[in-house]
Amino acid sequence: MDSFLPKRDQEYLKMKGLQYSEVRNANRNALIINDYPLPKGKFNADFTTLLIFIPQGYNDAHPDMFYCNPRIAFAGGQNCPAQTEGIVPFNNIQWQQWSRHLNTGNDWRPGIDGIESYLQKVNQAFRTA
C-alpha cells in the first residue's frame, strides 16, 4: 500500500526510527505506532500502542484525540486519567480514547504542522494526565 502520509511525515517517522504502520479500514486512515514510550513509572506500563486517526485533507486538517491499547491506568491502581473512558473499536482492537482536542488557530498551523508536532501534544497529554 502506498503511504497516505505527506512526504515530510514519512521522513520524520523513519528518521525517528519509530515502528509504525498505516492502516486503512472502514474508510478511515490510522497511523499506529508500536512501543510508544510513556513517562517512566507513571502508568501501569512504560510503553503503549498509539493510534492516531488521520483525516482526509490532513495536514491542512488536523487529527483529533488519540487512542491507546491496552488501556492505560495510573501505576499501582485501576484509576485511569481523566477523559479516557471512551472505548473505540478499530481493526478488531478496542482502543482507549484520550479525548484531547486542539484549539483551532493556536494549536495547529495548517499545512505546516504534522506528526512531529502532534506527537509533542500527545506527550504533553501523557505528562499532564
Partner: protein, 469 residues
Amino acid sequence: MRYTLTLREDHVQALRDHLIRPDGKERAAVLLCGRALITKDVWNGGPEERFFSSIVITVPQEEVISHSKTHIHWNTTTFRKAIKLAEMEDLAVCLVHNHPSGALTFSDVDNENEPHLIKTIFNRNGGDRAHLSIVITTDNQIFGRAWSNQIRAYQLDLIRVFGSKFALHYEGKQLDTPREIFHRQQLALGKALTNDLEKLRIAVVGSGATGTATATLLSKIGVGQLLLIDNDVVERSNLSRLHGATAADADAGKFKVDVLRDYIAGSGIGTRVRVLKEWVGSPNCHDAIKSCDIVFGCTDDHSGRIFLNRLAHFYLIPTFDMGIIIEPDPNDTTNLLAMQGRLTVLFPPNPCLLCRGEVIPKLATEEDQKRNDPMGYERLKDEAYVTGEKNPSPAVITFTTEIATVAVNEFINRIIGFKKKGSENSIMRFFDRGEDHKPGAKKRQGCPICFDDNYWGLGDVQPFMDQTN
C-alpha cells in the same frame, strides 16, 4: 493520447524577456515541467498527459554559436545541466525557442534538430514519458508538440497560459463559425471569446444555490464542457435557491447534479455536461477534476475548500472560490451582523485560502469524521465536542446568484480584459453597503502551498497532492 501544457504567466514573461529581443534573432531556453496523467477524459474518453511549467532555464548568449531570424545553433552545456536537473526532480523537459518571423509551424531546421535533442534526453534520463518542444512568436502566439520515447511528435492540443490573464492556444482558435445564440454577446465581448469558451473544460464544485447559478451562467455564455460535482439530493427546502430544480425533483429524491445537468442540457446551448455524485475530495473524483482547465468552487464545506486550495497549486488550475456570509444578530432578530459575498481566485502566487483564514481546519476534521465515521461523529456530538453543527445557515438566491455573477465576470475578464483596472484576485461584496472591498492577505511564513513554491505545477505525486486522501 491527448497532450496539453499549462504555463504560468510569469514563466511566459520570463521566456519572452529572454527570447524576444530587438535584434529579431532566434534564441533558446529550456523549461522543466511537472506532469499529470489523466487516465480517462470524462467528456471524450481516452487519456491525457498534461504538463505544467515549473523551472525556466535560459541558454546564455555565450553558448549561442550562431543565430539569425530563422535559425539558432547553440552548444549544449546548459541543456545538459537542465536535463540532469529534470532527472533529479522527476520533471519533463520542454525545449523552447522563438520564431521572430511569426511562423506558426516548426521549420525544417527545427524538424532536423529537435529529434537529436529529444533523443539525448531519453538516452540520458531513460523513462517512457514524453518530453516537449514549444515555439513562442513575437506576436504572442505559442504552439508546440510532445515527443514520445519513439521520437514521434504529437501536436499539443491545448496550451494554457494562466495568471492575471488567461490565454489559450489551440488549433482552430481563429476559426469564425457564427453562432446565432451568441451573436449579441459577441457584439459586446467579441468573437474570439466564443471559441475559447467552447474549448474549455470547467468543473463546478457544489450544485447548491451558488453552484446552480454559476453552472447555468457558464453554460449560457458558451462554455463547451462542464463537470458538476455534488453528492447531495434536492429537497423541498432548497427549491427557493436552486436554479432549475422542481418539487418533483425533490419528491423523487433526485441528485442535484442530475437535475442541474438536465436543466442545462435542456436549454439547448450545446454544453456537454458530466456529473459526479461524490464529495469532491474523494479519490473517485481525482482523475476527472485533474482533466479540467478551470474550477469554480461553490461548496460550503471546509474540507472541500482545503482540497481545491491544493488543486489550484499542484495542477495549476485557476479556481474561483466563492462564499456567502449572512450572519443574524443573536440579540436582534430584525438585524443582520453581516451580509457579504466573497470571491477568491486561487492560483500562484496569490495568498491561499488557508493564509486568508477562509478555511477552519477544525471543521474540516469534523466533516471528515461525519463522512467516514458517522457513528463516531454522533458520539462526539453527544459528548458536545463537535462545533460544526448549527442551525441551517441563512441563504437568499439573489445574493448567491450575485456572487456567482461576480465570479463568472472575473473569469471572462481574465480572457478578454474588459475591466479597466485589470484582474481582481479577491472581491468582498457588501450587499448591505453597496460596495466592494478587495481584502489583501499576508502569506504565512512557511505555508507550503502559497509561501513556498515547491508545490506549484508539481502535478502527480504520492500521496495525491502530498496530503491524506
